[in-house]
């Protein structure tokens, strides 16, 4: 178990670095962070389901300027680790537990946002020190200042990844005993609302009438086709 948390810290830390400090090649997306957490705690597929739902929930919240969106990377690590703990590999997904995990992951998303603000505040101090050192003619201070910032982003990322995956594992152990499990009972009835929220998030990224029309037409066609396909099979 210790090795799993070590790996969660390492890989989660890389996802967190990608979020702001380095690269932005989308390794921080919930689908990826959730799948990694799932794989580390024993069920890649369950982690991916949790990640795929969180992927779109906050997509309309853009990281613009000093406005910091909720931490969907952390939410996905929590929910991915939890889902993998609650659902044995190869078993059907327990949607009641997964739904409860996804709803609880909001708390991680908001906590992660607070941590992000904290890092950016501390970085003010690093930037001040860097500027003062350059004033004295110390050119290497630029590299050092940047390294310090990246290290801080990375260290907080590792801590969050370990913390959220730990909470996820606890929740994944505790929740199955708390809820009616199964495909369509209890919390599982709320599950379809979550991808629907994600779909609405995507639609709300665009303001044009055209997009809204295309959205509902695509929804109707996709639903009709899958319905017809399924009846044809029976």
């Amino acid at each position: 178990m210790a090795l799993r948390f070590l790996m969660a810290g390492l890989l989660g830390g890389i996802c967190y670095l990608d979020r702001t400090a380095a690269f932005q090649v989308m390794l921080h997306r919930p689908l990826i962070a959730g799948s990694i957490a799932g794989a580390l705690f024993g069920n890649f597929a369950a982690g991916a389901v949790a990640g795929a739902v969180i992927e779109l929930l906050y997509i309309a919240r853009l990281p613009v300027g000093a406005s910091i969106p909720p931490d969907d990377t952390g939410a996905a690590i929590f929910a991915g680790a939890g889902a993998a703990t609650a659902v044995p590999a190869g078993a059907p997904i327990d949607y009641a537990v997964v739904t409860a995990l996804l709803l609880l992951s909001v708390l991680c998303a908001e906590a992660g946002k607070v941590a992000d603000r904290f890092v950016r505040r501390i970085n003010c101090r690093i930037a001040q020190v860097t500027i003062a050192a350059v004033d004295r003619g110390d050119i290497a201070a630029v590299d050092h200042g940047l390294l310090a910032g990246v290290t801080l982003f990375g260290a907080v990322g590792v801590a969050l990844a370990v913390g959220f995956s730990g909470l996820g594992v606890l929740a994944g152990r505790w929740l199955p005993g708390m809820f009616t499990t199964g495909e369509r009972t209890g919390f599982a009835q709320l599950f379809p609302l979550l991808p629907l929220l994600g779909a609405a998030s995507v639609l709300s990224c665009s303001r044009s009438e055209r997009s809204a029309v295309f959205f509902y037409i695509a929804m109707a066609i996709a639903f009709g086709v899958s319905l017809a396909w399924n009846w044809g099979l029976r």
Partner: protein, 160 residues
């Protein structure tokens, strides 16, 4: 009322405005009131790149602001008025363009500036301008994007 929002922002046009406020207040015009830009056609042409068919971008100097707002009114557009400092906002008001609320989005850090929010730093003259605006009945709110809660700036003296 042609002005959907009046905003102070050091960066004038940027993502918070175009992706945040424009859709939120359903604006179709950005009016940038800035004397420096009037003398810099290169920067104006770059800023115009941020517009699109449903978002017209207009520049004017402080002296032209009243005429510019009348023109926007005549075209029946909804505009966001952008200026770089609270002092400019006070000057816009003094030139007869009436507004009831002022949004302060970003005022960059500088030596001697006081932090109001993580992205808004006030210099002494900003306090004076905000005070003057409030005495004329303008509600002043510090708020980066529509997605975050605003911080209202108290009347009379300065309290938060």
């Amino acid at each position: 009322m042609p002005l959907a929002l009046v905003r102070v922002d050091s960066r004038l046009i940027h993502g918070q405005v175009v992706e945040g406020w424009v859709p939120h207040v359903k604006a179709n015009c950005l009016l940038v009131v800035n004397d420096d830009l009037a003398a810099n056609p290169f920067l104006r042409s770059v800023m115009e790149l941020a517009g699109n068919p449903s978002l017209r971008i207009v520049f004017c100097t402080l002296d032209e602001v009243s005429a510019a707002v009348t023109e926007i009114d005549r075209r029946a557009e909804r505009a966001i008025l952008l200026c770089a400092t609270p002092a400019d906002a006070a000057r816009v008001l003094a030139r007869g363009v009436r507004f009831d609320a002022l949004n302060i989005g970003n005022l960059h850090f500088g030596a001697g500036r006081v932090e109001i929010t993580p992205s808004v730093f006030f210099a002494p003259e900003d306090y004076e301008s905000v005070d003057a605006l409030q005495r004329q009945g303008v509600q002043v709110e510090v708020r980066g994007t529509p997605f975050e809660p605003g911080k209202s700036v108290g009347g009379g003296g300065f309290e938060f």
